[in-house]
């Protein structure tokens, strides 16, 4: 894919918001962004403001949103509501979903804390959503659930071990 030339190139993106998949085309035209979401066209006047804030005007409507870049994608807030949006290159998504379903998945700690106990052993079969490890942080015990069904192929931590945010706890195959 070509790199975008302002005012010229149309960039195609596959977007996922919540459980919804959307096709996006975006280009810059005369200082405004033209964004097509599933063939609905938005002419968007955008100003980047303080922090993560953007002011977006489109078709006379005003949206104050903040767009935060996270490990998992873009976290967009509008009013009190928020939604996680992941963007990807068309074509890659199909490959990814294959990989997500079949490949090994690392389960990581989302926060620094201490492993209280392991609820599974290597080789155990687990269901999606089943608790696999309990991590204590902020004075609370938090059960971390398996993101998918599979078999525990390795365990990287032991009870009473301190873990950093992002540390691998175990892998599900």
């Amino acid at each position: 894919m070509a790199r975008p030339q302002p005012g010229v190139a149309v960039v195609k993106i596959n977007a996922k918001a919540g459980q919804q998949f959307l096709d996006v085309n975006i280009q810059r035209e005369n200082g405004v962004y033209v964004v097509e979401v599933d063939d609905v066209r938005y002419d968007v006047d955008v100003h980047k403001l303080e922090g993560d804030f953007f002011s977006i005007l489109t078709d006379g409507k005003s949206y104050e949103v903040s767009v935060e870049t996270t490990r998992d994608g873009y976290r967009v807030r509008h009013g009190a509501a928020e939604q996680l949006v992941t963007l990807s290159d068309p074509g890659r998504q199909a490959r990814e979903s294959m990989r997500d379903a079949q490949g090994p998945e690392r389960v990581c700690s989302v926060m620094p804390g201490k492993v209280v106990r392991l609820l599974v052993n290597e080789g155990d079969a687990v269901e999606a959503g089943q608790g696999v490890v309990v991590v204590e942080a902020m004075k609370m015990e938090n059960e971390i659930a398996a993101p998918k069904a599979g078999r525990i192929s390795s365990i990287a931590v032991a009870a009473d071990q301190a873990v950093e945010a992002g540390a691998e706890l175990l892998v599900i195959e």
Partner: protein, 506 residues
């Protein structure tokens, strides 16, 4: 201005409540001393206070729970009084005693009263003797199913079987009739034995759809004790409050007078002085049962302040110096309605898992009837060592419906970027028909799981995708301007280059 009750006060706490107490002191012309752990060197309470003293490493057991270090800090700073806030040492009788021994005024109840209400068995006995109703229950039961059934019949079904040796729901069973008692008794005893090494169980009346309703009391050293109406705190997760309001939607004038009197009787029996809260459970049939006394300022005290117009922290300071109560019982009146949402660094969609991190930017709401008690700022990192409360959003309205729409409006204005908070959850509650109807009980979240499931609003998704796409496109434009052409020429597209950044799945 009247003479301040003290010249200098040390605040033995951190976070929003330390800031709250500092604000009251500064309005009264009192100098303030903050204490801080390693991680709190740049916390807001340190920035606001006149003086600040380091009391140890970040874990609270080595800092905010160290009685010796806090007393030392107060002596060195020349503070005449210590306000403990809530949590940490606030209900620690040994700390209140240590203050007394050091000749420092403790802004809270005397240690004897704290001990009297702190022991649950003793408090229950004391309340029964004072004529305050407690949840009917039995002593530990040794007998067989027949004996237990007899005790259950005396209390009246449904009853709750509870393990004598522990809590946390282990060994707990709801029994609705004689027929199911034998098997549930076996289960409860078995579970209690394996969890606590002790099979002993006892019975308690099971309260259906209980509401958590608590009464604010205030007592001075001159023998006066008043109540400031009730708060309802039924919206909870893991027995911790999330939303509180004053008054309760189910308490009328007559009931208020009745439970207010019970609360005053309860704390008087314990020789209580200063601010305190008497917690009750209200059964679906309207009966109130005493639960416990919280011998401190409550997190949710602002809703009472908004509706009564009484500054509880200032009243605590005055009373601790031997001063009178700010009003008499006759002068207490409730005006309008106030709601508080606890804004916490937790992810409601992941069973309220903590989400500590750095606040990239925050914007508390403003405008009429809105109060925000916070302890954070742009760039502040919420530490992992303490509880995850970021701040409390409190809205006042002329009635409950008005307070709810105002809270919804304020939540829409509020923004905390950089970590996941409970803001979106609170906003959903404000729109929920059962909440609007005031149909509350402590199992509200279990009954309405849609409040904690991630939303999938097509309209929001579309706006979110437009915003994310624009933000991404702008970053690509920026990076393609900044990246030397040779790099792109070397077979790395801007997309791929960008794939190395966060936010893009590669």
């Amino acid at each position: 201005m009247n003479n301040p009750p003290f010249k200098k006060v040390l605040i033995a706490n951190r976070g929003e409540i330390a800031v709250r107490v500092i604000r009251a002191c500064h309005e009264m012309g009192i100098r303030t001393v903050a204490v801080y752990s390693d991680v709190d060197r740049t916390a807001l309470h340190v920035r606001f206070a006149h003086e600040a003293r380091h009391i140890g490493p970040s874990p609270s057991t080595e800092s905010y729970l160290r009685i010796d270090r806090i007393i030392d800090a107060a002596k060195h700073a020349g503070a005449e009084a210590i306000h403990p806030g809530y949590g940490f040492l606030a209900e620690n009788a040994a700390f209140a005693q240590a203050c007394r021994d050091a000749g420092i005024a403790f802004i809270g109840p005397p240690p004897e009263a704290m001990e009297a209400v702190g022991d649950k068995v003793r408090a229950r006995k004391m309340m029964t003797e004072a004529g305050v109703p407690v949840v009917p229950g039995t002593p530990p039961l040794e007998g067989d199913a027949k004996d237990v059934a007899k005790a259950a019949a005396e209390i009246g079904y449904p009853v709750l079987l509870k393990a004598a040796a522990g809590g946390g729901g282990k060994g707990m069973r709801i029994v609705r009739g004689d027929d199911e008692l034998p098997s549930l008794l076996d289960q409860a005893r078995g579970e209690a034995a394996s969890a606590f090494g002790d099979a002993t169980v006892f019975l308690e009346k099971y309260i259906e759809r209980p509401r958590h309703i608590e009464v604010q009391v205030l007592a001075d050293t001159r023998g006066n004790c008043i109540h400031l109406g009730e708060r309802e705190c039924s919206i909870q997760r893991r027995h911790q409050k999330l939303i509180e309001e004053c008054p309760s939607p189910v308490v009328d004038e007559a009931t208020r007078a009745k439970i207010g009197e019970l609360a005053v009787t309860a704390v008087k029996a314990a020789g209580y002085v200063n601010a305190g809260t008497v917690e009750f459970l209200r059964d679906d049939d309207g009966s109130f049962y005493f639960m416990e006394v919280n011998a401190r300022l409550q997190v949710e005290h602002p809703v009472t302040e908004m509706v009564t117009g009484i500054d509880l922290v200032k009243a605590m300071l005055e009373v601790a110096a031997g001063g009178p109560l700010p009003v008499t019982q006759d002068q207490v009146s409730l005006r309008g309605h106030a709601i508080e949402c606890r804004i916490i660094a937790e992810d409601p969609a992941r069973n309220f898992m903590p989400s500590p991190g750095t606040i990239r930017a925050q914007r508390p709401p403003g405008g009429p009837g809105v109060r925000f008690d916070g302890g954070t700022y742009d760039g502040y990192t919420v530490p992992v060592f303490y509880d995850p409360l970021i701040g409390k959003l409190v809205c006042w309205g002329r009635d409950r419906a008005h307070a709810i729409v105002r809270m919804a409006r304020a939540l829409d204005e509020m923004r905390i970027d950089g970590l996941t908070t409970s803001i979106s959850f609170h906003r959903k509650v404000m729109d929920h028909p059962s909440f609007k109807d005031g149909d509350l009980h402590t199992g509200f979240l279990d009954e309405h799981p849609e409040l904690v499931s991630p939303g999938d609003d097509p309209w929001l998704n579309e706006i979110a995708v437009v915003a994310a796409a624009v933000a991404h496109f702008r970053r690509m434009e920026l990076s393609s301007q900044q990246q030397p052409a040779a790099r792109d020429g070397g077979g790395r597209s801007a997309w791929k280059w960008h794939g190395r950044n966060r936010g893009w799945r590669s």
